[in-house]
């Protein structure tokens, strides 16, 4: 499987390099589905221009990157435009290589976990068990999913700074799978420093750390368990605090906090994107604005608790599910988050057979991806449509992502049920029983 993987990887790189020569990057960097006010390269360049002139980029309302990103982007922007394109392709190469390592480590990790828990399984479930051969071609599928995924390609071409966020999240996942939970917690803190929401990913890292160091029949709420959770949480928050302190020293004051985290939380900029926030808060009465901002922001993070309780035995899948909830419900979503979800999807290809809505979901994704730029053009440039058309597409896209996430979770839980209880359930009279969700 090494040769097809390498070929698809190289094809992906060549595809990106070739597309950088066309006019696609300039067009994509203006598309609001791909770039958001937080991740736009044009805005980053504007912030750097102000910084070079001696005006603080945080004094205006155009630049919303954190100070560390300001430094990194300042370093990148010194090169010529062609070199900058090459740098972004290089970042995608790094992303692809981390994904390869993740696929590798994930396969080993799943087999190990299966080996420890196979004694709890139903004897009939042997044919549902993962085999080494199935996991050998994980690398190939993950590489194909990343190299030819239009969302990842669009993010790379548009020079969106979401690639940095994605790389750090993938590094966090990789370190978690390798067993370095503390390093994973540091990466989670770094991802949270860049775009606030990944802070909730410290929960799967904490659960994973506990599971790996569990001896005997220790329960999740034992004092030793709580101590291990607190260790991970402590590492996360301490690294986050250190990063914030360094940023303050770099900028000279705390004025970057309202521009970055205050911006993510308060949603003052209502630029259209494929999320739920913009039109909702355009048409919101001023009186209720604060209340609904709180509701929507809580909605992003609240799914951590039930998902963590339900998926406590599977922290990797919990990590992936939380990536979904962040990517769908965050205040300024873009194709960067969607691309990350699709790139990691082949890791759970053993769950596909239990999913129910794949056809509908795929159709919805295709339709929304094609329609979104058309409706935007009709509204903004042609003047023959209005904002409702684009809003409808954003709703449909969010619904497609939600269907995919919940379908995947359903399939995963169904597979677990079959592993533990076998897949033949017969009623007293010999007919097949129905497997349903019941309290």
């Amino acid at each position: 499987m090494v040769l097809p993987t390498a070929i698809s990887f190289v094809c992906g790189v060549i595809l990106r390099l070739a597309l950088f020569r066309s006019s696609l990057p300039d067009w994509l960097s203006t598309k609001t589905e791909v770039v958001t006010p937080l991740t736009s390269w044009g805005r980053a360049m504007e912030g750097l221009a102000l910084h070079r002139e001696g005006i603080s980029p945080y004094s205006g309302d155009i630049f919303h990157e954190s100070p560390l990103m300001l430094k990194i982007l300042g370093f990148i922007s010194r090169f010529s435009p062609n070199t900058i394109n090459l740098i972004f392709v290089l970042l995608d190469i790094i992303q692809g290589m981390i994904l390869l390592r993740i696929a590798n480590t994930f396969g080993r990790h799943m087999l190990l976990r299966q080996a420890t828990s196979v004694k709890n399984y139903h004897p009939d479930a042997k044919k549902n068990l993962l085999r080494k051969e199935d996991l050998m071609d994980l690398q190939f599928y993950v590489t194909v999913a990343f190299s030819f995924n239009p969302y990842s390609i669009a993010t790379c071409l548009a020079r969106s700074t979401a690639v940095f966020n994605n790389i750090i999240l993938l590094l966090a996942l990789y370190q978690m799978l390798k067993g370095n939970s503390f390093l994973s917690a540091v990466f989670v803190a770094l991802a949270a420093y860049i775009s606030m929401y990944p802070i909730i990913l410290c929960v799967p890292v904490a659960v994973h750390y506990f599971l790996m160091s569990r001896k005997g029949g220790m329960h999740y709420t034992d004092p030793t368990a709580v101590v291990s959770y607190l260790q991970i949480l402590g590492v996360t928050f301490v690294s986050l605090a250190i990063m914030l302190l360094f940023s303050m020293l770099f900028v000279g004051s705390w004025e970057f906090i309202p521009s970055t985290y205050g911006f993510i939380l308060g949603v003052p900029d209502l630029t259209p994107n494929l999320g739920l926030f913009w039109y909702f808060f355009t048409e919101m009465f001023e009186h209720f604005r604060t209340f609904f901002i709180c509701v929507f922001q809580i909605n992003v993070v609240i799914y951590t608790i039930p998902l963590a309780i339900r998926l406590r035995e599977h922290p990797t899948f919990l990590f992936y599910m939380l990536l979904y909830t962040i990517g769908i419900f965050k205040s300024y979503p873009g194709y960067g988050d969607v691309g990350l979800m699709f790139a990691l999807l082949p890791l759970w290809k053993h769950v596909y057979q239990y999913m129910r809505n794949t056809f509908v979901t795929v159709c919805m994704f295709l339709v929304c991806t094609v329609f979104a730029p058309i409706q935007y053009y009709l509204w903004i440039y042609a003047g023959s449509a209005n904002a409702n058309f684009y809003f409808a597409i954003s709703l449909a896209f969010s619904t497609a992502q939600i269907l995919m996430a919940t379908d995947l979770l359903f399939g995963f839980l169904k597979r677990e049920f079959y592993l533990h209880n076998g897949d033949k359930h017969k009623l007293p009279d010999g007919t097949d029983a129905q497997i349903i969700l019941d309290s």
Binding site: T30, G42, M45, E46, A49, L50, E53, I55, S59, G60, D61, I62, P268, D269, L270, T271, L276, W278, Y279, T282, E283, M284, F285, E286, F296, N299, Y303, P306, L307, R310, F329, Q353, Y354, W379, I380, Y381, N386, A387, N388, F391, L395, S398, T399, I402, T406, L409, F410, L413, F417, N421, D423, L427, D432, A433, Q434, I435, I436, L437, D438, S439
Partner: protein
């Protein structure tokens, strides 16, 4: 063009508010406002129409379309609050919506609006005490003329102000009201300051309104009135007519004959001014100044002023655009200009796209002052100091991105667009060609006729811009909230279901179809009057069963064809 100027000089210092106690000629309402809000200098202009610099030269007082207010305050703390209170008081005094000049449109110009009156060097170099704001959308009408006339010492019944017929004035092409308060010297030694209040009204009429094609005008035809009285409180009561072209084409003659003709000499420009002392012409009948032209009006090329500017919006679509300002220098010498722009926050200006070009070559400005905007707090402020080369056009361009506003922030006619205030070009001209303003060191028009200075301060305002922003659908708040919350509910419901419930095997035959359930429900209802006590106990468990089976029914409906996996 008609320009009225009413100047009141009061020998008290505006820095001493206790001297503003006893009012004689100075209007009390304005004086109270000035002292309460610690004003040192105030300049308010209310204009309707655009002054065409290329065709008409320079006006005595240059004003942008709409309302413009700039104020220098006495040094004190809390200037922002004082400014907010001042604009509210002025909006009541002048019947204009000046209270909309809040922080969203107010800037502190660093170099462009230095004090026009007496001020110390240290004070005027600090822009902490100046505030500048414009309202380009304001309409000026009779309601603004009336309070302006009320400030005059003689009111509107006698004197030159009696000519001001609002019906005729607002028929004109351009009209501009101005109120300017500043400190001036009391005498040539300048030991004590005085306060000068200058009220100006500039009106431009279209010349070819006569039926016979000639440019004849008179007080009667322009104002529908004649001058019947003169203000006894005024020291100077004069009418000046520019008769420089009286002997050349187009030839015209004035009636009655002027008292004498002055020669106005300014560097580079000579003008002949006919002077009328009003008192000499009021008897026996009122003064109806007439000009009669000999030939019909022919349009010819007028000479261009030394510096003029044009500004316009570029680009298409509602997402982004650009602004280009062309400044023309027709003199044969270089000059330095200060270019000031105030852009509202919702047109996000990209500083990296700001470019100054002359004939294709990029010009680096001497100084740049760029203050980026904060959403809904303050506007973009840009001041550039650069050189205008002789006989050339300099182009300033920058691009912006249009923001998406909340639905309550759009004006009633949302698709009309939003106005961007004029840019201000300030320069010092070496020649006074087409320059009609009074020099800064004197108060009256007459005193600047024999001006021997060699530099003339000029301030130009460009056109205002009209920019459309993308609008949401204003009829949709309820629908949007419902639909967005529905999508959130889909996620919440599914995740809630999946995380709080476990898979179990169940018997499909134990669950009834929906129709059968309804039938059994109604059957129980029929039976209940007959055996109430028993049926009560029965109903409760059956209700529970019904609920369970109902939810099972829903789930099974969702998961059809599921048991065979």
């Amino acid at each position: 063009m008609f320009h009225f100027q009413f100047t009141t000089v009061w020998n008290v210092s505006i820095d001493k508010p206790e001297s503003f106690q006893h009012y004689h000629l100075f209007p009390k309402s304005l004086g109270d406002v000035l002292t309460t809000y610690k004003v040192k200098e105030l300049h308010l202009s209310q204009t309707q129409g655009l002054w065409k610099h290329e065709k008409w030269g320079y006006p005595p007082e240059d004003a942008p379309p709409g309302d413009e207010l700039w104020v220098w305050f006495q040094p004190h703390s809390g200037v922002d609050q004082t400014w907010a209170d001042l604009v509210n008081a002025l909006s009541g005094l002048f019947c204009a919506s000046l209270n909309f000049m809040d922080s969203k449109s107010t800037v502190q110009p660093r170099w462009s609006f230095r004090p026009a009156g007496l001020a110390s060097e240290f004070y005027s170099a600090n822009s902490r005490f100046v505030r500048y704001s414009t309202l380009p959308r304001e309409v000026v009408c009779t309601e603004n003329l009336t309070p302006w006339k009320k400030l005059l010492p003689c009111g509107s019944k006698i004197g030159l102000a009696s000519l001001l017929n609002s019906v005729k004035i607002y028929d004109g092409f351009y009209h501009s009201l101005g109120v300017h308060v500043r400190s001036v010297c009391q005498d040539t030694q300048c030991l004590t300051p005085a306060t000068e209040l200058k009220q100006t009204l500039t009106v431009v009429y279209d010349p070819t309104t006569n039926k016979n094609g000639k440019q004849d005008w008179s007080f009667q035809s322009m104002f529908d009135r004649t001058l019947q009285s003169q203000c006894p409180l005024a020291d100077t009561r004069k009418i000046y007519v520019d008769v420089t072209t009286q002997e050349t084409l187009p030839k015209f003659s004035l009636s009655p004959v002027p008292d004498f003709v002055l020669n106005q000499k300014r560097s580079g420009e000579e003008r002949k001014i006919a002077v009328y002392q009003i008192g000499n012409h009021l008897s026996p009948s009122s003064l109806n100044l007439k000009a009669m032209y000999e030939e019909k009006l022919t349009f010819s090329n007028s000479s261009l002023p030394p510096v003029y500017a044009n500004r316009f919006v570029t680009g298409y679509g509602l997402e982004r655009g650009g602004v280009t300002c062309m400044i023309y220098n027709t003199m044969s010498s270089n000059t330095t200009v200060i270019f000031m722009e105030t852009v509202p926050w919702f047109l996000r200006v990209y500083f990296s796209s700001l470019r100054i070009e002359n004939d294709g070559k990029e010009i680096k400005p001497y100084k740049i002052n760029f203050i980026p905007a904060k959403d809904r707090a303050n506007p973009y402020q840009m001041e550039l100091v650069f050189r205008l080369f002789a006989n050339s056009v300099t182009k300033i361009t920058y691009s912006f991105e249009r923001a998406f506003l909340k639905w309550t922030e759009y004006p009633p006619d949302a698709n009309h667009g939003f106005y961007v205030s004029s840019a201000v070009v300030s320069t010092v001209l070496p020649v006074a060609s087409q320059y009609t303003a009074t020099s800064q060191s004197v108060s009256l028009l007459e005193e600047s006729f024999s001006d021997s200075s060699s530099s003339f301060f000029l301030r130009l305002h460009t056109e205002t811009l009209l920019v459309s922003l993308p609008t949401p659908d204003f009829s949709m708040p309820y629908n949007v909230i419902c639909l967005a919350c529905t999508v959130v509910a889909i996620a919440f419901g599914s995740l809630h279901n999946l995380t709080t419930r476990d898979f179990t095997a169940s018997d499909p035959s134990k669950r009834k179809g929906l129709v059968a359930k309804l039938k059994s429900f109604f059957k129980k209802e029929k039976e209940s009057p007959e055996n109430k006590p028993d049926s009560k106990e029965e109903e409760i468990p059956s209700q529970k069963d019904k609920d369970n089976s109902k939810s099972e029914e829903k789930d099974s409906k969702k998961k059809d064809g599921n048991s065979e996996t």
